[in-house]
Assembly symmetry: D2
Homo-oligomer: 356 residues x 4
């Protein structure tokens, strides 16, 4: 019953097998290998457009490289106030960009609204040297609250950003989970909705350590090979990144993994919602459930060995009432490896908590 | 016949098996897993001292993190003029250290001499604000010329560095190859000879992507966890780094791998040296052979499908005569996976070259 | 009638004369001159403690150097959301600190409250590598709203900051204006209230280009000489910085200049407050007046040639009602050079505006 | 008898007077003032081309801003091994450029030769991600040895640089001294010879603290206003920079100042050369004299109160024999303020030294 994060899961069997298979013989180093070339070819195919793609081992690297490419040091990257890039990467975007500024935009349910974006942009006077200059918008899809931007929402935000001269980055650490929930094509969920650069995650969804950084306008990626090398993210035995990504994409494996994770999350969310005293502030749209639990339920779950994190409840602006003193706010994450039996056991433990 | 680099080889069987084994069940993320803890415990045991250890996926990350910890932005890291950190990491140390300066010291055979180090240090006036301040000495072991510093040489350089207030880093991307050649203990080859921080490589010697950054004074590593995260080098599924390192160290596997690579290099060097017209400027002490080949030999080898790199001959100061116009300077690298048969085939092709 | 800023004023006569006087003969370069030594001696005397002091030409340099010294790259400097360091220096603190993060704390009237500071600190988990680590608190005195922290307020904030391990920086671009309003000693207004490092401004208060960066714990300033040189802020003819600062401090000149500016601001504020329809959201405590003007008054003032800036009204949280559509929010700044006659002319123009 | 540096001199009378004159009334801040506009207009006129110009207070700022604009973080700026930007600015170019690399090219007499430049360029493989990419060539005019590049030499180096895709920067801290020695126009000495960006010094030649950073292709300066502000080099009372530069340029004042300094240097060099035992390794072409003095002469000069610096003799490659044990290598600098009587007194003291 480990719901701490989707990165506590291991590697899916096909991806592990692909690593084993890629191990035969010698291969050209530093990403000039055949599996990497094949992975990038498949990404272009799946996204139905020419891309410049780069495989790296972590999501933080993908995001920070993206933002460093899109923003000059005197620029600003706008993102949700609780965005992973802003709160959970120890300042990686600032480091990679040589000191660009992340500007957090508040918004309920982890989402930036067009109004919020416009208001933040209005606070910047273009060309005024006293202020950093807005250069990029970064959207988290799935959001930090486990919600999903609709295609219309992405398009609306992208339009505002682009009209203001900003490039649009999507932190897609859980892009697969969002995509299968949206039920659209990868192209529709990204560049057709205005996304310029996508951090296309695989690690949280079954890879060992592999993310693709995808530029939909290859011309914008000219500096990336140098930034990647310089930041130590050009793996010498690159074939193993390529092999992971190939297996991830092969036959829709990535979407199957995400569907499994999302389905488990739905079961869990529905079960939790039915427990008296439990409140879910946001709809469960992907593979993360945020819940306000009575402390007695939390105690029963922990006694049963369930693992999950207490989470900071967002600042003012949410429609939900914040947790009271006898409540606790938690995050639960399912993965491709979560079993339905774990859900049942978890819900059983929750239901078995002593009544107030 | 791929002698392009040791990183064109794959993963050793025990390390690959360890990755497979580590895949069962869930594990705590971001390096807080059991295999990582075990790997660090074993490293401390093998190095016979308390350490602060950090696993990362690339040697560039290990080196750059080390130098960023040892040098302030206004500091200088002294290294051999042809050192990997100076020439082959696209400025990673400068990036991680926020602009510290690498100062190259010339020296024959890839080695810094005590005289060379002292002369370079004499060029810096301590406390003079117009100059960066020397903060670290970085030694490559194996060197960029495939040679090995003796323990006495390391100790002599470390003594000069430490007396001048510099910390000593060792770029041990091929530390195992050096160690088995030196025939000493890991402790003797590192901290007992004055090394403060070691980039302990495994990737070139059979791992998939794994290096340990080892601080022999744990107190000096306080900033490392943040620098590592911030640079995107804290892998979420850290157990797979831990598993690689455990298998690498298990039962002396790492030394066996290095012995195999070194032995192949010896065969190759001896065979080459016996070929008329071939010159080896430096002794082959580990798993790299540098050779000046007659162009007709080079052509015959390439025709036979051999892979290796032409290499820049070092600037003035070497005892060997530089390659003439009908010669080519090349680097050949063996790995744990190199087979004796490949060596034989290679030498056969070289010998079969048409006579002048 | 130039109320655009106090830096539109020129240089006070004694300071200009001191520059002229300092021009005779030759002098040691790069801040090793006699006038600089004398200036630092006087600063120590006036602040009644041992200091490490550094003269630079701009307030942005002083602030950014201070924060770069107090925060590591993976640190955070907490400040008011509208603080100059956060909003008006084009990311200088991020640049000088190699990517530290500024974290804005909201608060009415430009002031951070103990509650606001504590709440922000509570959002950081110490030692958690995913987050930057709070390292410094920066207080603007005078604040961005022209208000002044009382000694008790500074002490309360400093206590919270220090208990949490943060150093305390004060952006004192208008420190003199605050000091004469507080009516206390420089020591009381700074280190006795818990301030570790002070940007002691002179430029806005009559100098040509001179600010002192003052460390009250000299041991913390070890890196400053190198950071200053490296950022191009070690003036070669440093005697002219020293001369400015000496003249500024001589015989209480700095306090006289500030008293004059503050007195003009009081006249202006009182006059404005008496004009029907004009609203002053915050008390005028130093030399800045923020006013919500009826647009017809604004038009009359501009027609009369008055210069001042429209200003962004702070986001939610202020007790005052934001400007309506027929109103404009403006900032007016007086300086040592502002004449009472200008105030009278300004108020006359405002009063002469056509009635609604 | 202060020959320590030209920045130990004060401010020329016309420039000081211009500062005084500029002090009347109020002026727009941050470089938007009339004197700055006028200074930039005059620079364009003097250089006979459209420029983007920026006034700053130090040469280090000008140089570092220039190189940060011309080189990406993963770039290299090539310069003479002993160049001020490489040796005497505490890593400012690395800081401003977020970690670009300075690559020193050896060369006798402080000069880069076409052969030296070509050889260094040949060491870089374009597009190879393992290496930083050469982006700029920085030439010091006057050089670090007090010599001057001829127009043909600049043109030859610029041609090689530009053909290789590098921009050309000139560190003209002593541009005026070089120009009057060359006897050509400012345009001929800069953009017509292939220079893209010029650090046009005034401080060492009579200003208080003022340098112009001049882009001959204004389009390349787009990021400069932000970099300047962000580095704290946008002075608020910018009119005083403008006033200095206007007075400096007015009626050829800058060239008169430089001629005076150069003439004194000629007298000094000729006098020294005539003293038995004194050797001058390089011709005195501007206002710096480098001399190898017998120690007894040095002692006599110091006893007479002369001030100058011992200097590091350049590494191998110079035609002159390095100083022996009874000799000392020194640098002597004259300025606009040096008086002929000082030269006579100095030479008298040297001649009066006890004979060996």
């Amino acid at each position: 019953m480990n719901f701490a994060s989707d990165n506590t899961a291991g590697v899916s069997a096909p991806i592990l097998e692909a690593i084993r298979t890629a191990n035969s013989g010698s291969a050209s180093a530093y990403g000039t290998d055949a599996p990497t070339a094949e992975a990038l070819r498949r990404l272009a195919e799946i996204f139905e457009t020419e891309i410049a793609g780069f495989l790296v081992a972590t999501g933080t690297a993908a995001n920070a490289l993206a933002l460093a490419t899109l923003s000059p040091p005197w620029g600003a990257a706008l993102c949700h106030a609780q965005a992973h890039v802003n709160e959970d990467e120890c300042g990686a975007p600032e480091f990679f960009s040589s000191g660009a500024k992340l500007v957090g935009i508040p918004g309920a349910g982890g989402k930036i609204t067009p109004q919020g974006l416009a208001a933040t942009l209005a606070g910047f006077e273009r060309g005024r040297v006293h202020q950093v200059q807005p250069a990029a918008l970064s959207l988290s899809q799935v959001t930090e609250c486990g919600t999903i931007y609709s295609l219309a929402e992405i398009a609306a935000l992208s339009r505002i950003a682009r009209e203001a001269g900003l490039a649009v980055h999507m932190d897609g650490a859980r892009f697969a989970n969002a995509l299968v929930a949206l039920g659209c094509t990868p192209a529709e969920a990204s560049w057709r909705a205005g996304v310029d650069v996508l951090s296309f995650g695989a690690t949280k969804n079954g890879a060992l350590a592999c993310e693709a950084l995808i530029f939909f306008d290859p011309a914008k990626a000219a500096s990336l090979p140098f930034l990647r090398k310089r930041s130590g993210h050009t793996l010498s035995k690159g074939r193993f990144l390529g092999a992971q990504m190939c297996a991830y994409l092969e036959g829709g494996h990535w979407q199957e993994l995400a569907k499994a994770a999302n389905a488990r999350a739905q079961s869990l969310a529905e079960g939790l919602a039915a427990i008296p005293g439990v409140r879910l502030p946001w709809p469960t749209q992907a593979n993360e459930i945020f819940a306000i639990l009575p402390r007695r339920v939390d105690a029963a779950l922990k006694a049963a060995g369930a693992l999950y994190y207490e989470w900071p409840f967002p600042p003012a602006g949410e429609p939900s009432t914040p947790p009271g003193t006898d409540e606790i706010f938690v995050r639960l994450v399912t993965s491709f490896a979560t079993e339905e039996a774990e859900i049942e056991r978890f819900l059983g433990s929750a239901l078995g908590a002593p009544h107030p």
